[in-house]
């Protein structure tokens, strides 16, 4: 993870139309962005089209990152989620949620295809999560759910949502310290 200053610098260069900076952003963050998209739309061709549009909108909004308190990764995740929902004109996650209710043990799965070489050191942590925990984090990050909305959607008490999601987050914290 880059420092906050170098992240801002990169986004300033992008907003000034520097092509090298754009490709640098692509090389570092396209797996993150594409990963979210492919997990949400589950169709490779569709995902690529949405990626191009999403990336384009990220570039055009690069100026607004200056006033952002979040890290670049979080900002990109939020931008991507918003773009996917606005392009597909629906909440893809709610569709996923319907499917996952009939099969709650199936996680928001990573679509690994032949030729995909991306290895995240955090991937292993996913397996450590209890299925409910994983779903809560997915709902927060990809589904735009608040904790109380999660409680309603999953039919569990709000307190349970809080303790479970917090425990899940703490598991990932260790990995983030590198």
């Amino acid at each position: 993870m880059q420092s906050r200053n170098s992240e801002s610098e990169l986004l300033v260069q992008i907003s000034q139309g520097e092509n090298q900076a754009i490709m640098k952003l692509y090389d570092e963050y396209s797996p993150l962005i594409y990963g979210i998209i492919i997990n949400l739309v589950r169709d490779r061709e569709k995902a690529e089209e949405i990626f191009l549009e999403t990336f384009n909108s990220i570039i055009s909004k690069s100026k607004s990152y200056k006033s952002e308190h979040n890290t670049l990764a979080i900002w990109l995740i939020n931008m991507t989620r918003q773009a996917v929902y606005s392009i597909t004109n629906q909440s893809q996650y709610s569709e996923y949620l319907k499917n996952s209710k009939s099969n709650p043990e199936q996680p928001f799965s990573v679509i690994k295809q032949a030729g995909d070489t991306y290895k995240s050191k955090h991937e292993a942590v996913l397996n450590e999560l209890e299925s409910g925990q994983r779903q809560m984090l997915e709902m927060i990050l990809f589904g735009n759910y608040s904790q109380s909305e999660i409680a309603v959607a999953l039919g569990v008490p709000l307190g349970t949502v809080k303790t479970r999601s917090r425990a899940a987050l703490l598991k990932f914290r260790d990995g983030g310290k590198s």
């Binding site: 990626f51 191009l52 890290t71 979080i74 995740i77 918003q82 598991k171 990932f172």
Partner: protein, 266 residues
């Protein structure tokens, strides 16, 4: 404010996921500066959630990188385009040269044709104008002859009428013979004079015709001498035995100036 309660409300996760409204967001950012615990919690949630997201990362197909590069770079492909366009421009300019040459030639030809046909048209116009003049002249002549003919015809009708009596008026003076004929129809009273020869008068004098019935002189009107020949209609006279012409002042008189009787019929 209890920071732990604030954190436990889930506000940090919502802030990170961009779920807070503008005011809640502003409030959160203000508290961030006041409470180090909140700041630490934010860092934890941010890194945890981005780590969680990174765990879902998938490498896109290499072709996608090229599409992105094409979309944002104006690299080699753009230069090739420019070359192609210059070539097209050269072709176009050659085409334009031919087109300009062709249109110049067309201009020359059409200018000559315009001049040629304009002269032809002008000639024809002149000929037409002169023929039109001739035609008008002939028409005028015809009308004059027709007018004379009708007049002669009507004079002849008067002369040939069996009720018309002809009174010749003669006078000899200084080797000149004055000749005037009066035609009088005793049925209708119509009177005509035919001036054959009369000398011109001063401007303030006019010849006047009188009908003599017994001793009475009846005014038959003044005579206007003109170049016209033929009969001139005078006032209608009901009875007349003889005729006289006197010289009167212009406009005529009610009684004849008997000192100036030019001529009278027998």
């Amino acid at each position: 404010m209890n920071v732990n309660e604030y954190i436990e409300s889930g506000v940090v996760e919502m802030y990170v996921a961009g779920l807070l409204g503008p005011e809640e967001r502003k409030e959160f950012e203000q508290r961030l500066l006041m409470y180090p615990e909140l700041s630490r919690e934010l860092n934890m949630v941010q890194s945890s959630l981005s780590n969680f997201a990174q765990a879902h990362s998938v490498n896109p197909a290499p072709a996608l990188r090229q599409r992105v590069a094409d979309k944002f770079n104006t690299g080699d492909s753009g230069t090739t385009d420019k070359h192609n366009r210059t070539g097209e421009k050269a072709d176009h300019s050659l085409t334009y040269k031919y087109m300009i040459a062709a249109s110049l030639a067309a201009l020359v030809i059409s200018t000559f044709a315009s001049w040629f046909f304009y002269t032809r048209w002008e000639e024809a116009e002149n000929r037409y104008t002169s023929i039109l003049g001739d035609k008008n002249q002939l028409e005028q002549n015809y009308n004059l002859i027709k007018f004379d003919h009708q007049r002669i015809l009507s004079d002849l009708l008067i002369m040939r009428d069996l009720n018309t009596t002809v009174y010749p008026l003669r006078h000899h003076e200084a080797g000149m013979t004055y000749k005037v004929r009066v035609y009088w129809n005793k049925d209708s009273g119509e009177t005509y004079v035919d001036v054959i020869m009369l000398p011109d008068l001063h401007n303030e004098e006019q010849y006047q015709l009188w009908a003599i019935s017994g001793d009475e002189y009846i005014d038959a009107g003044v005579m206007n001498l003109s170049a016209d020949y033929g009969l001139t209609r005078m006032k209608d006279i009901s009875s007349a035995g003889a005729w006289a012409i006197t010289v009167e002042s212009k406009g005529g008189s009610k009684t004849p100036n008997l000192n100036k009787v030019v001529m009278r019929s027998n």
